[in-house]
């Protein structure tokens, strides 16, 4: 079975380490905050200027001056810091954020990512995505392995305008966990019940398979 959005988020959460500063993009990446493993502490960075993002507010806590980068009302945890956008992107660009998780339309075997623009469709803008992929120490991309027509999103070369070059290290799809290294996708784990053959068939770029590929484990 292909993973649900929540399961993809659960698997990404296993990448979190104690003491990590993490920026989570919109969509599935946001769900990762719900699955932080017990016993570890991470600090969520929101690029509009908040380090130490908390959960959504209760009705009583709502404050129009307190939002996240998705423009949603949010809270700050005890010990949070708030700062300007320039400071926020100094953190990001300067490599101080340990992990960025974001979605994408396409990723290729050289770690290039396309996530912001489909020519011919309305272009809404890249927001902070280009800065995030250029600056984070570690980038995990979440996406479906193939589009709804079955076309692979893991390509030899991205076809869409890029968000960043040579920056993606790891991909968690609904079918697999892959590492991007030396010009190829390296298959690390399979979704439970998904065969290596299916992953191979839905990966257009170069795929390296070493020995038996284990299934993902969810606690």
């Amino acid at each position: 079975m292909a993973l649900s959005r929540e399961q993809v988020a659960m698997r990404v959460a296993q990448e979190l380490q104690d003491g990590y500063y993490v920026n989570l993009g919109i969509g599935i990446p946001t769900l990762v905050a719900n699955y932080v493993p017990a016993g570890i502490e991470v600090m969520l960075q929101s690029e509009n200027g908040l380090l130490g993002m908390g959960p959504y507010p209760t009705e009583d806590e709502i404050d129009a001056d307190m939002i996240n980068a998705g423009k949603e009302t949010v809270t700050a945890i005890k010990g949070a810091a708030i700062f300007s956008s320039a400071e926020s992107f100094a953190m990001i660009r300067g490599g101080h954020v340990d992990l960025t998780v974001l979605g994408a339309f396409e990723v290729d075997q050289n770690g290039n990512i396309a996530s912001w623009m489909i020519p011919g469709k309305l272009v809404k803008g890249m927001g902070g995505a280009m800065d995030l992929v250029a600056g984070a120490q570690n980038i995990v991309v979440t996406m479906t392995h193939a589009d709804k027509y079955g076309n692979s999103k893991l390509l030899t070369d991205c076809t869409l305008p890029l968000t960043g070059v040579g920056c993606v290290k790891k991909i968690v799809t609904d079918l697999a966990v892959l590492e991007v290294r030396n010009g190829a996708f390296h298959l690390l784990e399979r979704a439970p019940g998904i065969s290596v053959e299916e992953i191979q068939q839905k990966t257009a770029g170069k795929l390296v398979i070493n020995g038996d590929v284990p299934e993902m484990v969810f606690n």
């Binding site: 129009a64 708030i82 040579g166």
Partner: protein
Amino acid sequence: MAGFNKVVHSYEDAMAGLQDGMTVIAGGFGLCGIPEGLIAQIKKMQTKDLTVVSNNCGVDGFGLGILLEDRQIKKMVASYVGENALFEKQLLSGELEVELTPQGTLAEKMRAGGAGIPAFFTATGYGTPVAEGKETREINGRNYVLEESITGDFAIVRAWKADRYGNLVFRHTSMNFNPMAATAGKITVAEVEEIVEPGELEPSQIHTPGIYVQRVIKGNFEKRIERRMVRQG
């Protein structure tokens, strides 16, 4: 002392001198931390052919979005503009020019503009459409794009508290682009929630020193929320 009293008492005085064709830098992120009354004054003045630099362009009927209604904006420099049907219409019809700029690059362009740095190298956007036509350079094995800074004829910002010297303090995440925008205007106008006596703001806690600010006006804010998310308490 009058030279240091930057408080004005009308929006006409706050935006006096704004003319057609000028560049206006606006603070705010989405609808958070926007100078609502100053934007409304620009609408009232019907100034045309403006270049507006701001992370977003408001929404239909609120924030910078109201300046689209009478086609006052010629060019928009922003990182994300997807919240606005009128914006989309004018963009597709060619009435509105848009320069999409990565969010961190936009913040740094304002910061550098205010700090007298004409351009800077950043890895952001290298190898993407953003870098097209721009100088690139390899430094210590990594590739960078040369981005030019931005200054404005006017900068309009929203702050929480100000004193008459123009010292500003921002509230929560309504800070966002406001401090950099404030440094980058030839005339910077701060619309604030509260004007306090000099000395009430702790000197070491001031976010924007008054030297950057030419005018201060006390505003009333609707503070519209774009995405109201609530958890059950």
